[in-house]
């Protein structure tokens, strides 16, 4: 089984599978077992999420003629994207 908890670098999966499995288990009280494949799919899903976030944040930074990604760019990306509603709390900025 690939999920041996050893993986820091597992090549195709960037995120450590054991850690992902732990996070999954803690997401609800009644999670019992997790198939070996689930963390794999998860790992990729997270990469994709980061990809979309980065892309949008990057666009926000470009609009402001910056080459540095700031937290406010991430916030803008979240605010502009409906499906990221669940992230609004995460990126909450102090109002200027």
């Amino acid at each position: 089984m690939l999920v041996g908890g050893v993986s820091g670098r597992t090549g195709p999966h960037s995120l450590p599978l054991a850690r992902i499995k732990r996070i999954m288990k803690r997401s609800s009280d009644d999670v019992r077992m997790i198939s070996a494949e689930a963390p794999v799919v998860f790992s990729k899903a997270c990469e994709h999420l980061i990809g979309v976030l980065v892309r949008r944040a990057w666009a926000a930074a470009l609009r402001r003629k910056r080459r540095t990604l700031l937290k406010e760019d991430v916030a803008a990306a979240v605010a502009n994207t409906d499906v990221f509603d669940f992230l609004v709390q995460v990126v909450q900025q102090q109002p200027k």
Partner: protein
């Protein structure tokens, strides 16, 4: 006897409970993703984006990195909880890859599903090779239905389709 007609002018019943759609907060056991890995993924994506040879120019503020990390963590909780629900509904005990994929669709990330299926097939193929041990065997595509993590072994010969 005209009843007070149009609307609630004046006395509005004070019993309107605003139903705030606050989802049940997951247990705040903060498992964090390794920052180094998140940073690597972020940088990776950035260099793909800024591939006009200006990648050296792009930097990411620490706070922004934290925001990415946090977002991913919350995303995982969200997807996990959804996948768990889906799994329960099917009266199974093991969350499998399909549950995760369905969860992604449910929370409005259908565009992730296709590339993830590809990655999954890839993983299954590699896994099948590892399991068959000797290279002499053909790699069969096995239907991995409820592959429990507890044991490393699989129950027997995979049924062939």
């Amino acid at each position: 006897m005209a009843e007070g007609g149009a609307g609630n002018s004046g006395e509005a019943p004070a019993t309107v409970e605003a139903t705030m759609t606050i989802k049940k907060a997951p247990r705040a056991e903060v498992e964090e993703l390794p920052k180094a890995i998140v940073r690597r993924v972020v940088k990776d994506k950035l260099s793909q984006l800024a591939s006009g040879g200006e990648e050296e120019d792009v930097s990411v503020q620490k706070d922004a990195l934290l925001a990415f990390s946090e977002s991913t963590r919350i995303f995982m909780h969200y997807v996990s909880a959804t996948a768990n629900d889906i799994c329960k509904e099917s009266k199974r005990q093991t969350i499998n890859a399909d549950d995760v994929l369905k969860a992604l669709e449910e929370i409005d990330f259908p565009e992730f599903v296709e590339p993830l299926k590809v990655a999954l097939e890839d993983f299954r193929r590699k896994n099948a090779v590892k399991k068959s041990g000797s290279k002499g065997r053909q790699t069969k595509k096995r239907k991995v239905d409820e592959l429990s993590i507890q044991n490393g072994e699989d129950g027997g010969d995979g049924s062939d389709e």
